[in-house]
Structure formats: C-alpha cells, structure tokens
C-alpha cells in the first residue's frame, strides 16, 4: 500500500450523523414505512411451498400405496435389502452395493432422494403426499372453523341477552373439555360405527372417513376461539360512534350489520383465520403423531414424524426420517403466520403496508 495515499475515513462524520438519525438521502416521504423485514419473503416462501407441493402431489400419490391405486410399490420394496437406506447423496459403498444387487435381481427400487423408511418406501414421495394431505386438511379445517365461529359469535353478540348466554356458555363448556380427549372419542366412535354398520367397507372409503373425522375433530376445536374473538369484535364494533352515526343517517339494522359491521370484522377475522390454518395443521400433526389422527398407510406430516422418532437413537441416527417432516411443519407454520400478519395489514386501510 502506498504510504503517501491519504487514509480515507470510511464513515464521514456527516453520513454517520445521518445514519444515526435514520435519514438517508433518498428518503422520499416520511409516510413510507417499510413493512417489517421477512414478511414479503415469507409470503413468497409460502407460495413456493404450496406450489411445489401442489405440483409434486400427483406424482407422489402414485408412489404412496393407496388402496385401489395403480401401483403397490411398498410390497415390491418390502425387502430388508432396501429398507432404511440413507439419502442417495449420502450413500456409501455398502449401500451402493445393496441397491445394485436389488436392481440386478429385477426388484422395484424406490427413489431415494431422502432415503427410504422401515419398509423400504420412498421418504420424499411420502413427505410430499403427507404435506399435501396435512395442508389441505389444515386449510379446510380452518375454513370450517372460521365459518362456524363467525356465525356463532356474530349471532351471540348481535342478539345478546339470553341467546348470547346460551351460545357462549356452550362454548365455555366445550372449551373446558380437553381437545385430545374429544378427538380420541370421536375417532374411536366413528371407527366403531363404521365397523358395525358398514360391513365390507372398502379401504378407500375407510380412509376417506378417517380424513373427514380428522377434519371434524380439528375444526370442532378451532371454532371455539374464533367465536369468542368474533363476539368480542362485534360487541365493541356495535358500540362505536360510526354505527350510531350510520343509524342517525337512516341506516336500518340489516344495513348496519352487512355494510358497517362485517367489513370492519373482515380484518381481524381474516388475520385470525390465517392463524388458524397453522394451528389446525399443528393439531392434526399432533393427533397423528399420537396415533389417533391420520392412519397408515396414508401419510401426514404428523405420522411421518411419529415414524421417524424411534429411528433416531444412539446406535444409528437415521435422521432422514424425522427431519424432513419437522422442517416442512416449521416452514409452513412460519410462512402462514407471516402471511396472516401481512393479510391483517393489507385489510386495514390505515396501515402503510
């Protein structure tokens, strides 16, 4: 370095002062506030997740043995040679040889991008199918919970008095019951009824019933909170001065409800509904993890994780079974939460975002 060259201060005093004051040269207007970092990224992440799951789902369902499906590769691969293989990009000599020998004997070899599970099924295919099932179930359950909760809460708050007392005390009672107990009772009862009344049920119908039961169990818990949120909102909104002003203008009850209360309700409801989606996914995963949710052979994020947990031990860490469903759950929850945040801001006309 040339010693005669003057050393330049990387932080000229003026710019430092400006930086401290938070002023930049190009600040266009003080009103423009950046939405918090990450929400935009998270929204894109959510979109990418949903799109990739949607695109890959048909492919993955072909590889997950569904009753009545075209293939049953699970049985073809039921071969200790091919079970619990590590991901293809981690396989060592020994694994390569096992796969090679299986290929040479003409056996079915599953894709191994995320390895295979205990009975030799492709983990990646099951992960995609499980994500699709879990997300769909979560969305449907949240939608159902929102609809029931909004109707219940608005009816309670709007009519008040005895109607309010009956509706909200029933919510309190249901709140007091443990949700796991409810879900367990429901699935056991449905199973029993299906066993007794529907002899020779086809496995496909059985799985559909299983999915619907889960939907009812998850949505049946989710709408309770929603109805409380909505009731509180309606109670506070109907006492706001703008409702009285609308009345003074000659707006009738119906008009005030549809044109003044509901649009104001949309922001909090949408935000809460968006938060209810990850909550529903989480509770579905939890129930499946406990074994009362979606049952094998249908995959879901919860039962994939439940499958993976016993394979993680001190002797041999088969992490590729547990890590992927956990990562997908985490990403889905994070991005849905951020998306809910953003939705709430977008629906509030006073927010800068």
């Amino acid at each position: 370095m040339n010693p005669t060259e003057p050393v330049r201060n990387p932080f000229p005093p003026q710019s430092l002062a400006r930086r401290v004051a938070g002023v930049t040269e190009h600040t266009a207007s003080p009103i423009r506030v950046r939405p918090s970092v990450g929400r935009g990224i998270a929204t894109w992440l959510l979109a990418a997740l949903l799109v990739s799951i949607g695109v890959l789902a048909p492919w993955s369902f072909g590889r997950v043995d569904l009753p009545g499906g075209t293939q049953t590769p699970r049985w073809a691969a039921q071969n200790l040679q091919l079970s619990l293989l590590p991901p293809s990009w981690l396989s060592d000599e020994q694994v390569q040889q096992r796969v090679q020998s299986a290929v040479q004997t003409g056996q079915y070899v599953p894709g191994r991008w995320l390895g295979t599970d205990r009975i030799g099924r492709d983990v990646f295919a099951r992960l995609v199918a499980g994500s699709a099932i879990s997300l769909t179930l979560g969305l449907c359950a949240a939608a159902a919970a929102t609809m029931i909760g909004v109707v219940w809460g608005t009816v309670a708050a709007w009519f008040g008095g005895r109607v309010d007392a009956i509706l909200m005390r029933s919510v309190d009672v249901m709140y007091a019951l443990p949700s796991i107990l409810l879900a367990t009772l429901l699935s056991v009862a449905v199973d029993g009824i299906a066993d007794r009344s529907l002899q020779d049920v086809s496995p496909a119908l059985r799985q559909l019933i299983n999915l619907l039961t889960m939907l009812v169990a998850v949505a049946g818990v989710g709408w309770l909170t929603m109805s409380r949120v909505v009731r509180g909102q309606v109670l506070s909104l109907r006492e706001r001065p703008f409702v009285e002003a609308a009345r003074a203008m000659g707006a009738g009850n119906r008009r005030i409800f549809w044109f003044h209360l509901l649009p104001n309700l949309a922001g909090p409801v949408a935000a809460y509904a968006a938060l209810a989606v990850p909550a529903a996914i989480l509770s579905e995963s939890f129930l499946s993890f406990l074994g009362i949710g979606i049952r094998e052979p249908l995959p879901s994020l919860g039962n994939l994780a439940a499958d993976g947990l016993p394979e993680l031990n001190l002797v041999k860490g088969r992490w590729w079974l547990l890590a992927p469903p956990c990562v997908v759950i985490a990403l889905a929850l994070l991005s849905l939460n951020f998306a809910a945040d953003r939705l709430r801001d977008r629906l509030d006309p006073a927010s800068p975002g």
């Binding site: 001065p241 703008f242 002003a245 009345r247 003074a248 203008m249 000659g250 104001n264 006309p349 006073a350």
Partner: protein
C-alpha cells in the same frame, strides 16, 4: 301579520313562524342496571322546547342533565330496553316522531332530521372511503343514478369547504381540479384531520336537506380555531337552507356567539328558557346565575372563583323572581324541604312558568301556578331577523 317565508335553494318555500320541532313534556327513563328492581333512572323528566326554522336553539347544562337523551329521543336512537319513553311527544313538522314505527323512522332519520356527533375521529367508518360514506347517506333516501349521486356528493363536500385548498391550488386548471376532487372522494377517513372529518360528517348529515339538525357537541373535540370555522359553516348552511339547529354544548362562549334561544337544563328538566341576549343580560334562575358567575374573568384573578353551589346555596337568590312573595320560587331539587313552598302535588313538584312574555323559568308547582297554566315555551326569535327573513309581501 303575513307569514315569513324562506326560499330554500331546492326551491321549496317554508313557513318560518311555524315550529319545525316541538318537544312537549318529554320524559325518558332507563333501567337501573345495578338495582334491577329499584326505581328507574329518570334521565329526562318533562322537557319542553320549541325549535323554529332558521333558528339555533342552544341546549346547555352539565353532563348527565339530559341534553343528549333529548336529542337521541328525537332521533329515536334510544335503545329500548333499557330506555323507555314515559310520556310526552316530539313533533317534527307536526308529525309525532315517538308514535312512528321503526320503518317510518328509517325514512325520517337522515332525510328530515339529522344529527352530528361530538367525536369526528370515530364517527366515520374506517373501512370506507369518505366518498362511499357520503354516497350511502345520499342513496339511503334518494333515488339517483350513480353519476348524479357522485355529483351530489361532490356538491355536498363543496358546501362544507373541503375543496377550498384544492381550488386555491388549481385555480386555472379545471381538469386537474376535477380529477383531484374525485381523488379526495376515494380517501379514507384516517387521512383526514379532525376538522376535515367533522366537515365530512356535516356533509353527510346535510346531504338530504334535513329540516332539523341536532348538533350534539359538534365542536367539543376540536381546537378553538377549527371550532370557530365549523360553527361559521353551520351558521352559513343554516342561512342557505333555513333549517333549525339544536346545538347541544357545554361552552357558554359558543352559546353567546351562535344561539338565538337558550334552553338551560338541570336534572332532566328545563330550568330556564330565554332569548340569548336577555338570558346573558339578566339570568333569572339561580342555577343559570351560578353558571354565569363561575366563568373565570381576567380581572378578578385574586378572588376565589364563585361556584354554582355558592349561588344555589344562598336562599336569598331564590327570592328574586317577580312574584316570589306569591310563591313563584325557582325549582331546585337540592333545596331543603322546609324552604320549599307549599306544593300542589307532592309527586309533580316542577313546572315551567312563564315569568315574562319572553322568559320561562322552572318553578315549584304551587297551587297558584297550577291555576293558570303557562303556555309552552316558544320563541320565534332570531338574532339576525332583519337580514335573513323576508316577509312574503316584500317579494
């Protein structure tokens, strides 16, 4: 005498000396939530007042004296239950509002009788643009095409002076002015200041040319300069349209500046009813005197302020009415029982007595007062009578 007539801009002429709003012996009570079986809370107990077109009737009194309940009863906006109309009538152009069905009221509210509220910051719906809200006010009562309605909305905002700044800025550029007028319609309330929102509220209230405007403390939430602007605006709109304004306020300065007739209320009753100048010159009821004497002055800063109680606790103050020796004693609920005159009925102790042709004071109902019933308070008086009213023959 020929009837005075006002030509409104809409072309209809209205008789000025026929009352537009008559409240007669109105009594409103509410359920007592803390004591359900107990006596009901009497918010208004026999209020009588009369409002003429082009007149500003100021209703003053402390919080809880029933000013707002009177106005809300006229709009039929009192929730029932807990509220209840015990007796009385409210006539709007001769039609009793209290006997109207809810359906009939829907067509009256906003079109014949309108109201503006104290809180401009929260009286506009935050999720609709102001244009939408004015359009709603217009379309609730008038069948117009969207194009006409938008024009009417712009006209309504023009009248309340929302566009004054825009006009200054785009004096010569009519296209830009029109464009910006439409832009302003699409703005949301949170972008407006308190004064602008109150202007929007006034535009909404007046969009359908109501006969009566109930202004419930319209300037309390605004600062003094904006307060003056809003009151000027109301006065000007009143002059153009010939509507009656019931101005509810705590501010005696606002009363002195704007009112034609003042109605002082206490504990749900009218204690004094008089033209504004006469009231300020010569308050008759001790409570009114107490109110005026408790206004701090600039000169007497060394003395303790006189309070309302100082005046009303002095028995001599109650013997100043003409005819006090015959038992014309101002009604005052806190007067000790032994000091009260002999009453006609124990229950109904109050009556509004005409002391002078223009003056009414709330008095104890003694047998003498009951013998010759006073006429209802009704003052066809306006401070700017000569300038604003033209007798029919002069046209």
């Amino acid at each position: 005498m020929q009837p005075a007539v006002h030509k409104s801009p809409m072309g209809e002429s209205l008789l000025l000396n026929r009352p537009v709003l008559e409240v007669a012996d109105l009594a409103v009570s509410f359920d007592n939530a803390s004591n359900p079986g107990g006596p009901r809370i009497q918010a208004v107990a026999g209020v009588t007042m009369t409002l003429f077109p082009k007149q500003t009737l100021a209703v003053v009194g402390e919080s809880g004296c029933g000013k707002s309940v009177t106005a809300m009863s006229a709009m039929q906006l009192i929730p029932r239950p807990p509220g209840r109309m015990d007796r009385g009538s409210i006539l709007l152009d001769g039609n009793d509002l209290l006997s109207m069905s809810e359906k009939q009221m829907l067509s009256v509210r906003g079109s014949k009788i309108a109201m503006i509220f104290q809180e401009p910051m929260t009286s506009l719906n935050p999720v609709y643009s102001i244009g939408n809200q004015i359009l709603e006010a217009i379309l609730l009562h008038q069948k117009l095409t969207p194009q006409q309605a938008v024009e009417r909305a712009i006209g309504a905002l023009e009248e309340v002076g929302i566009y004054n700044r825009l006009k200054e800025r785009y004096q010569n550029d009519l296209v830009a002015l029109t464009k910006n007028k439409h832009h302003l319609l699409a703005e949301y309330p949170h972008r407006f200041s308190g004064g602008m929102r109150q202007r929007v509220m006034i535009a909404m209230a007046l969009a359908c040319q109501p006969r009566v405007l109930l202004a419930d403390e319209p300037t309390t939430a605004l600062d003094v300069t904006i307060q003056a602007q809003i009151l000027d605006l109301l006065r000007q709109l009143q002059r153009d349209r010939g509507m009656g304004i019931m101005l509810i306020t705590h501010n005696l300065g606002v009363v002195a500046e704007n009112a034609d007739v003042v109605c002082v209320m206490y504990a749900g009753r009218v204690v004094e009813y008089a033209p504004v100048f006469e009231l300020f010159d010569r308050p008759m009821h001790p409570y009114t005197r107490g109110l005026f004497s408790s206004i701090p002055g600039l000169r007497n800063e060394m003395h303790r302020l006189t309070t309302v109680e100082d005046v009303t606790n002095n028995p001599a103050e109650f013997r100043k009415l003409p005819g006090s020796e015959k038992g014309v004693i101002p009604w005052w609920p806190h007067m000790p029982v032994e000091a009260r005159p002999k009453l006609a009925h124990e229950r109904d102790a109050y009556c509004l007595h005409q002391i002078e042709p223009n003056r009414w004071v709330g008095c104890w109902r003694t047998p003498e007062l009951e013998a010759h019933a006073s006429p209802k308070p009704s003052l066809d008086f306006r401070r700017h009578d000569e300038s604003s009213i033209m007798p029919l023959g002069s046209r």
